[in-house]
């Protein structure tokens, strides 16, 4: 036996695949992308004995090898191509014993591709509670496949699986479905075109290629037309024939105990959780709880992260010799890292909620409850979770939209997610709302500050729905859209599964969004630190002079912050800010805001830091009151009115609500849609929406 074997873990959604993967590999797993796709590839290692280890690849759950979504396509792509580096030596097929027939359909298809298969029979406990028992030996004889009963969530049967993986002689090579009804000449031709010897694999590839993949599609279609081959009819016949074979095997090995048709917990729970009134009330209640968690519980860990970065930047600034390198480290790299890490608590908390509700089985119900509402907007029930996640960060949320089968519905969901108010907008809103209403102001029993904040979230959500409706009219759909989903039985959440999901999501955010935020932060640092040489020199000279004049009455520290502000004004960022001023003037913005708009491209919250530099608020940049006071006390030279009038502040808030000022989002949309086209359309659309809305709001209030 080889020292390392590759095992693909395959099964239906909700069959316990993730639990088995975690049980086999523990934390010894890593996530990468399948080549040429954006779909997560989870691989891990498990030791079988002293000499042999197995590389386990977790393939996305699917019902058949005729893929319907981007996720499912990956499973098919890995299993179809023997030349693929990830092509497994063996498929470990996991099936839900409480729903065996449907689960086995995929097993027979996988086996017919010529890959050896072992069957892990999961959830036998649930089946037994319903009075259904399987005789493992009879099932194994009937299917001609080794069968191992397991309980993935309780980690039972793992040692037996490993023993089977080592036993190479025992791998099944049995095939199930015969193509005897299909024209032989057609099969020969298909084998030739697809360059495959296994006729079933060849025909299946040809069918998928004719609708999904681009390569050879035309050639295959011509061939199908020549023999008047009805692919749909064939697929239907194939599936029904497979069920027929499965029925036999199941009947032989299945024993039912006297009627134990107790009302299941799931049925009882769904009566309430999908109830006309209670169902919606509980959903809204959970949503409220999630917001509560994001906004109030997360403030403590966020404070720690911020303090930690303040202390470490201070340390670096004081320890390293002053100069460009010091500046780059503190104001470029550390500032960027801090901007990423500070949002990690909110993102972890939100995804913890989602992971728990997903593991329990509730998230499928959210889709079920909300589907009707999402439909007029060109989305479906499965769009709800990505949209809610969008309130933490658009990057992992856009990745989460992969489960949506229909391309159009998925695309619309991706396009509107960035309109949901993400956590990076929160500090911007907090600063701006404080300029509109005093923090203590009350309106009846409510805090006015909180009401305006909620209004901004609703504005974002409303814009997302409106835009979805708009996109729905313009995006063509190639396939019919349907919404079909298993509603799995409720289970107690497993801490291990949730922690591993959180780790993955956290990593996706820190790496996916983080690397771009840090890179842009460094570029923006350069733009803000350097400028046309003569101007920068003039500022340096002026402050050198002032520091020598004892009579200025200012401390060295005050002079330093004033110098920073003036340097920013003459830097390249300042030059850009002034350059775009004519464009943003109609919105009520001046060049100072222009600078902040540009620096916000790293991440929106950079607005606050930039404003504090421009208004030379030294020291703790988090001292919002200081910035607010400085901004509020600025007056327009021409009109004599406050610069930050009601109109300007509202206009600015609307601009931040709608504009796509996030390079990480642009990048993730490009990789997910595999085209710059949609990333550009989204950027242009959101910029136009922001500009026009701000213009309208500015004129409304002034």
């Amino acid at each position: 036996m080889k020292q390392e074997i590759t095992v693909a873990l395959v099964g239906n959604p909700n069959s316990g695949k993730t639990s088995l993967f975690n049980a086999l590999t523990g934390l010894n797993q890593k996530v990468s992308n399948f080549p040429g796709t954006t779909v997560d590839k989870k691989t891990g290692y498990t030791r079988l004995n002293a000499d042999t280890r197995a590389q386990i690849i977790d393939l996305p759950g699917t019902y058949s090898l005729y893929p319907k979504s981007a996720d499912e396509l990956v499973t098919y792509e890995i299993l179809r191509n023997k030349a693929e580096t990830d092509f497994p030596d063996l498929v470990l097929f996991i099936a839900d014993a409480s729903n065996l027939k449907r689960n086995l359909l995929l097993l027979t298809q996988v086996a017919d591709l010529g890959v050896p298969v072992i069957l892990a029979l999961n959830m036998t406990d649930i089946a037994e509670r319903r009075g259904v028992f399987y005789d493992v030996q009879l099932l194994s004889d009937a299917l001609q496949v080794p069968v191992v009963p397991i309980n993935a969530r309780q980690r039972k049967g793992i040692a037996e699986i490993k023993a089977h993986l080592l036993n190479e002689q025992n791998y099944s090579k049995h095939t199930y479905y015969s193509l005897s009804g299909v024209n032989e000449q057609l099969l020969n031709e298909v084998c030739e075109i697809t360059d495959k010897r296994n006729t079933y694999a060849a025909l299946q590839y040809a069918i998928n290629a004719s609708v999904l993949l681009n390569t050879k599609a035309r050639q295959i279609r011509t061939c199908f037309e020549k023999y008047a081959f009805d692919t749909r009819g064939f697929q239907e016949k194939e599936i029904l024939a497979r069920y027929h074979i499965i029925d036999e095997a199941v009947r032989k090995s299945r024993r039912e105990k006297a009627n134990s048709k107790l009302k299941s917990i799931t049925a009882q729970a769904d009566k309430i959780l999908t109830h006309r009134i209670w169902g919606i009330a509980i959903f809204l209640g959970l949503l409220f709880l999630v917001f509560q968690a994001i906004f109030s519980w997360s403030t403590y860990p966020m404070d720690w992260v911020e303090k930690g970065f303040l202390v470490s930047s201070q340390w670096v600034e004081d320890t390293l010799p002053a100069g460009v390198l010091n500046d780059l480290l503190v104001h470029g790299i550390l500032a960027g890292l801090s901007g990423v890490m500070v949002f990690l608590p909110q993102i972890i908390i939100l995804f913890a909620f989602i992971a728990i509700l997903e593991d329990v089985g509730y998230m499928a119900r959210v889709g079920f409850i909300m589907d009707r509402i999402m439909r007029p907007f060109g989305m479906n029930g499965k769009s709800v979770v990505p949209l809610i996640s969008g309130m933490a960060c658009a990057v992992p949320s856009i990745m989460a939209s992969r489960s949506i089968e229909n391309k159009k519905e998925r695309l619309i969901t991706i396009l509107v997610i960035p309109l949901m108010s993400c956590s990076a907008r929160l500090p911007v809103y907090t600063l701006l709302i404080a300029m509109l209403v005093p923090e203590e102001a009350e309106w009846g029993p409510f805090n006015l500050h909180g009401i305006v904040m909620m209004l901004m979230y609703l504005v974002g959500f409303g814009a997302a729905l409106f835009s979805a409706f708009l996109f729905k009219q313009f995006i063509k759909s190639e396939t019919k859209n349907y919404f079909m989903m298993e509603l799995p039985g409720y289970k107690l959440p497993l801490a291990g599964n949730i922690l591993i999901t959180l780790f993955d999501k956290g990593k996706a955010f820190v790496w996916g969004a983080g690397k771009i935020i840090v890179a842009v932060s460094v570029i923006l640092w350069a733009l803000a630190s350097f400028g046309p040489r003569d101007d920068m020199r003039a500022v340096e000279a002026k402050y050198l002079q002032m520091s020598m004049d004892a009579g200025s009455g200012k401390t060295a520290e005050e002079l330093a912050t004033m110098k920073d502000a003036e340097k920013l004004e003459v830097s390249y960022a300042g030059v850009f800010g002034k350059w775009i001023e004519p464009v943003i003037k109609p919105l009520g913005f001046d060049w100072k805001i222009g600078i902040a708009l540009i620096t916000s491209l790293a991440a929106r919250e950079v607005f606050v830091g930039t404003m504090s530099t421009i208004y030379s608020v030294g020291g703790d940049i988090e001292d919002l009151n200081n910035i607010r006071a400085k901004m509020g006390s600025e007056f327009d030279n021409q009109t004599g009115k406050p610069k930050y009038s009601l109109a300007t502040v509202w206009s600015l808030m609307i601009f931040y609500a709608f504009a796509l000022q996030c390079m990480s989002t642009i990048s993730v949309v490009q990789t997910e849609t595999r085209s710059w086209k949609w990333a550009s359309i989204q950027f242009v659309y959101m910029t136009a929406l922001a500009y026009l809305s701000s213009l309208a709001v500015f004129h409304l209030f002034s």
Partner: protein, 73 residues
Amino acid sequence: MKLSELQFGQTAVVSEVLGEDLSLKLFEMGLLPGEEVALENIAPFGDPIAIRVGEYKMCLRLQDAENIEIKLN
């Protein structure tokens, strides 16, 4: 009778699935002629519906349920 007309408490057997794209997906999910179905839940806004198919529970939209012919038991 159509699946969309099934009432709570009734069980029926699927006799035919119309519509090509739909039938394939439904077959793969185990909803095929001969399977027993029962209505389990209706979403708060009246659509989609959750049904028991064989041994598990799935949901689908009414517009798709209209394409599924059933016979009451």
